[in-house]
Amino acid sequence: MSFDINKIREDFPILKKEIYGKPLVYLDNAATTQKPLCVVEKISENYLNNNANIHRGVHFLSQVATEAHEAARETVRKFINAKHSREIVFTRGTTEAINLVASSFGRSQCKAGDEIIVSHMEHHSNIVPWQLLQEEKGIVLKVIPFDENGVLQLDKLDELITEKTKLISIAHVSNTLGTVNPVAEIITKAHSHNIPVLVDGAQSVPHMPVDVQALDADFYVFSGHKIYGPTGIGVLYGKEEWLERIPPYQGGGEMIQKVTFEKTTFNELPFKFEAGTPDYIGSTALAEALNYVSAIGMEEIAAHEQELVRYTLERLGEVEDIRFIGNAPKRSGLVSFLVGNIHPYDLGSIIDKLGIAVRTGHHCAEPVMAAFGIEGTVRASFGIYNTKEEIDILVAGVQRAAKMFRRK
């Protein structure tokens, strides 16, 4: 399939919706993406035809469902080029995947005084799990700063790394600034000190090709719903050696090999980390979404969205008193901005009435807001189905709203 925007838009029924009598312009893709019909149909098809609890079932339907779930795991493996499908753990999303590592890695590898490094531009989901560990085990959380353009100050990383550093956990792409971080470089540096790296791929996997082996990431996590899949399913990739070394996250069914009251032994990878009935409906629908974007091509999607970002910066640049938050040379997927002293909530409320869906606020990254001395931004974030015409509507909407708030 080539990149045919009209065909792609046809695949997403919700895009035909009108909001307050205006065509929907959906620019909140960093929060969640819309779903193509094939994903929605996959969910209902599973429930209608292939539903049975997976693994250990001897009956026909259970085997069909098990095969579909494991085939989905293989689809994910291929999509991010992991070495083995046993390195793919299904989670509820990025947040749960980070919590899993923080808990399992933290409990087994960290003691009081050990250090974890994150960056100043992390989503709360890559801050709070480490703070919980801080409270529990007395680890120290260190932070890589960024400059006024929203670019990480990597020279500071050398000072932050010590003999006590146990892990670096960092976003591939900032959900607020759009900055693409040089994770390959960070991983190389970390590995030269024998420090593993977790990459938060929530905002990268939907927008660019990702190869976990090429990056040499130790852990890489992302969410299904941000890449046109269903909510409630996500992925933790972990190198086999790490997943073997760290203990289970939750206990229950599926993750055990043998249970007695004296001692329980755990199942092999990846099942050791999948306690309880896995979301086999979600996993197969996620695989459907990954197949959908793969057919279009991640390179093509990246090029399309890069052009949308470029065009947005150019067109919004025409707005009087516009201020872009985040001006990194390498960026992806989204544009954060403010207009004069208009509160982002006010601006978002007005353009909502014009059918334009953007997000306003701190985007779950309050430290980023604090660094810029602002309360929030307006964020337009893109997906495969967005067009330049929609950006023109956004710009016209912002112009109109701005006029309403200008002091007379």
Binding site: H343, Y345, D346, S349, K353, G361, R400, F405, K408
Partner: protein, 140 residues
Amino acid sequence: MTIAEKQDEIIAEFEFLDDWLDKYQQIIDKGMSNPGVDEEYKIDKYLIEGCQSKVWVHAEFKDGLVFFQGESNTDISGGIVSMLVEVLSGHTPDEILETDLYFIDQIGLKEHLSPTRSNGMLAMVNQMKMYALAFKSQQA
């Protein structure tokens, strides 16, 4: 003017505005011409925290009447609080407590506000009535 008369006046101002954008403009303009809250009262004690906006409401009791000041860090919430101040300020605690704020529905405010703003408005009204109640019990 009674509270009802003030409400009717606001309803009349909005009556000929069909387009919701014009209604919003009217709300924003009201906020902009509102004198706001004295700096000394723009502190957490007088803050009604909403989801994304902050509103400060302060009240004084003089000669049996309640006088409100209100301000927000966002212009739309600022307009809403200034209308509430306009309507409720300068009345007795009993008048404030007994009043039905029908102008909110009649100018179409509720249907056009996001649920978070709508909840914020409710919180403002509640806070203002709480002030009235406190002054009333002080009086007794």
